[in-house]
Amino acid sequence: MPIIRDGKIIEDHWLTIRDEDEIPDAGDIILSPEHALDYVAMGRRHKGRLGARIKSDANPETLGPLLDKIDLIELEFLSFTDGRAYSQATQLRQHLGFKGEIRARGNILVDQLQFMRRCGFDSFEITDKRHFKVWQKTYADLNHAYQRRAQPNDLTGIRKARAG
Amino acid sequence: MAKENSDTHVLTANRLTDGIVVFWNEEQKWVEQINEADTATDPEWIGYLKKVGEVAEARNIIVEPYLVAVSRNEGVIEPLHIREKFRTLGPSVRSDLGKQAAAVSDERLLIAAE
């Protein structure tokens, strides 16, 4: 799937590994949190980066000790009307202090791009090729926001700020 | 209600640009007065009407198409359900607004023209 990040369309090198699958020797792999925890506990032998995918009803805190070993977290949007991942992303960026990449996957609209970015998402999986141009253009837009990026509560001093 | 009446349907929707309630007429396409709508009684025609609705929605002419059960007496088509009845008329508390007003003024134009 094409990914948009930093305003560009990039190739996706990450492999999603199901719980029952073998972990390859090399490559950037995305595991479920439970699988990732086991894998790291057992020594983590492959060459490549580690990522995790968190379901909408899961608590990002379950990744706890792994957070500084993970480079990518994928959050899912079961429907574009399901807003749970916005909170998960905010939690990861805020009190969990996650510094890696947060990726949006699933049913998302380009009109939601600004909201997602402001909650801490870095990259977005686009399912419909027709929308590439719109996504790229929208990425460049900087909107006014009452809430500072990934700091939705900060009202003082941000009122003159622009998001981004 | 007589059984044969509940088999009679018209296709209705809201026009995308202005939200106005419309009905399907094969010749005139989307009309604003239900009395001008095509009625369908047999399953094949009803199936056809459903398709018309889907296509028109995909073409962004209308939104929310659906079939309305009606009774037909001479030239008067009336929905069976009160909600659908009001939808063909306008607000009962403002007889000067909505289709009910347009129908009256249409009539007046006809009378004036005679």
Binding site: T90, H144, A145, Y146 | N14, D18, G19, I82, V93
Partner: protein, 554 residues
């Protein structure tokens, strides 16, 4: 009142440009209806029974003469010459074309208004006391924090796709005039034992199919903590509110299913995390910021306002004027001033509707007599907050000249009614003509004065937008066998001592309802003791006494 600065203006214009583009993409088909729907809802655009409907936000029910005039102009240019004031202090236009909406929003932006988040699964208009800032029983003007919360919640990126809509109300007086008990979050500014003003936080109130009264989740919260605490509540709701069933998706259901204690723990836990070391999320509101916003709501210097020319020839003993004074005025915190209630419930009229001319008349009167400020009450009436007592005769004459002097505030004909099946795509029955029939009946039988205060509320379906659950007399419009029929509830209350009305028995036909209401109120007159209002007698003798009287006759 709050004045936009450069930032606010740019913000709204940006939103208008975004919607203009979204409408364009919808009309060309780049966006289909399923994708467009949540976007248009975020800008208050509904598809209703006859046409689109646009709901314009009137933040905490405060607007200026200039804004009211703009609403009048919009109603004439883009609609059918009238608007409807709602039970959440907003205004609705019933006939806008989608293709005109971007232009309408531009006109609104010109006068610092918008339609952002007046529908959809997001945080809606923060409503408040229509007498905020001028009520004699006020601890603190709630609009300061209403404005804070408005800014904080506007296009808040984390909470744009909640399980369901979210409604916040805030009050700052001894008497609750904002119906906080029936909101998802109700905030009550009040002093603690040390006399410090803070928030009592209620959660999980609501109307609809499962009416519930909010519970106190936090007895007292420092003002500076409110945004962090709200953040915590919203996050818990966003993550754990039900998304499987539209009718079980409000926070009241979550509160009910978890229990207040567990919900409170979850919120506190989240609230603590917001303050975790290293997190830059925590933001105790700076006192300077509170003061800055408070300045906008500072009471104008009322003592130095010169009285406008008063017309002595009105006849201060005019019985109509005296009656209007008795019924439609509310005590002001300043001894030389009065709060004027303008009824939008003329006898036999459509509750809450105002024509373009009426809107302009109110704008002019407000400009002349009320420092150009108007309030919208959740009772679907208007309020003038700064009227000198000396100006009352002239003001009344101006109202009378335009038919806006109906002296029925809080009386039997001051009925709250949702648009119902005359306008709404969700309705099962009509509500407006029921209100009209009741109003006309009591005009005829001459009992309105005798009866005094009573709250009648009518909803045209179980979604309860007419707040019938909170009516002293509640009327719910349903449908059976193709006929409208109406269920009566008694004993609801939306103010302090909040209560949900009880159904009294089988429903009544359209024609029967005014007679039933008359019977109920006659039973009250027969049973009342000195000084009792309807609700007092009802509470004392009980619903069953009324039930027996009604069903004996019908």
């Amino acid at each position: 009142m709050y004045i936009y600065d450069q930032f606010d203006r740019e913000f709204v214009l940006e939103r208008v440009a975004q919607l203009r583009d979204q409408v364009r993409r919808r009309l060309t088909g780049e966006l289909n209806e399923e994708e467009f729907r949540p976007l248009r809802l975020q800008n208050g655009v509904y598809l209703q029974l006859h046409a689109y409907m646009l709901r314009v936000a009137i933040p905490y029910g405060t607007l200026s003469s200039k804004q009211m005039r703009a609403l009048a102009d919009i109603s004439e240019t883009y609609d059918k010459g009238y608007g409807h004031f709602t039970t959440r202090q907003n205004i609705q236009f019933n006939w806008p074309a989608l293709s005109d909406i971007p232009e309408i929003l531009e006109k609104l932006a010109d006068v610092e208004m918008h339609a952002i988040q007046t529908s959809g699964n997001c945080i809606r208009n923060v409503t408040s006391d229509p007498y905020a800032g001028v009520a004699s029983d006020e601890y603190e003007d709630p609009r300061i924090f209403a404005e804070f919360i408005r800014q904080w919640s506007t296009l808040h990126p984390e909470f744009a796709f909640l399980p369901r809509k979210f409604k916040i109300a805030i009050t700052g007086a001894a008497e609750d005039r904002a119906a906080i008990a029936f909101h998802d979050i109700g905030l009550r500014l009040k002093p603690n034992d040390l006399g410090e003003i803070g928030f009592e936080v209620h959660v999980g109130g609501g109307m609809g199919r499962t009416p519930m009264i909010g519970q106190v989740i936090k007895p007292w919260l420092a003002k500076s903590e409110i945004l962090d605490y709200l953040q915590a509540v919203m996050r818990v709701y966003n993550l754990h509110g039900r998304r499987d069933n539209k009718y079980k998706a409000r926070i009241k259901i979550l509160a009910h299913e978890l229990g207040l204690e567990k919900l409170s723990e979850e919120v506190d836990a989240e609230h603590r995390k917001i303050g975790v070391q290293g997190s830059s999320e925590r933001q105790i509101i700076d006192l300077k910021e509170i003061d800055r916003i408070a300045e906008y709501f500072a009471s104008p210097d009322l003592d130095t306002q010169s009285a406008t020319l008063t017309d002595k020839s009105v006849g201060l003993n005019d019985p109509d004027y005296l009656l209007w004074k008795l019924i439609n005025l509310t005590e002001h915190r300043h001894p030389d001033y009065a709060i004027v209630n303008i009824s939008l419930k003329p006898y036999g009229g459509i509750p809450g509707d105002a024509s373009a001319d009426e809107m302009r008349t109110v704008a002019d009167i407000a400009e002349q007599f009320s420092l150009s400020e108007i309030r919208v009450a959740h009772t679907q009436n208007l309020v003038l907050p700064y009227v000198r007592k000396a100006d009352l005769p002239a003001l009344w004459r101006a109202l009378k000249a335009s038919g806006l002097e109906t002296p029925n505030k809080g009386q039997v004909s001051d009925i709250i009614a949702c648009p119902g099946l005359d306008y709404c795509g969700l309705a099962t029955a009509r509500s407006i003509p029921i209100a009209q029939a009741i109003s006309n009946r009591f005009k005829e039988n001459g009992l309105e004065r005798e009866i005094g205060k009573v709250k009648i509320k009518i909803s045209g379906c179980i979604n309860a937008c007419g707040h019938h659950h909170a009516g002293h007399i509640g009327i719910l419009g349903l449908e059976k066998n193709g006929q409208e029929y109406y269920q009566i509830t008694l004993g609801g209350e939306d103010a302090d001592g909040a209560a949900i009305g009880k159904i009294i028995g089988p429903g009544f036909s359209f024609a029967q309802v005014p007679m039933v209401v008359e019977d109920i109120l006659k039973t009250y007159l027969d049973n009342r003791e000195r000084g009792e209002e309807f609700i007092d007698t009802l509470r004392r003798v009980g619903v069953n006494a009324f039930k027996e009287d009604i069903y004996a006759d019908h």
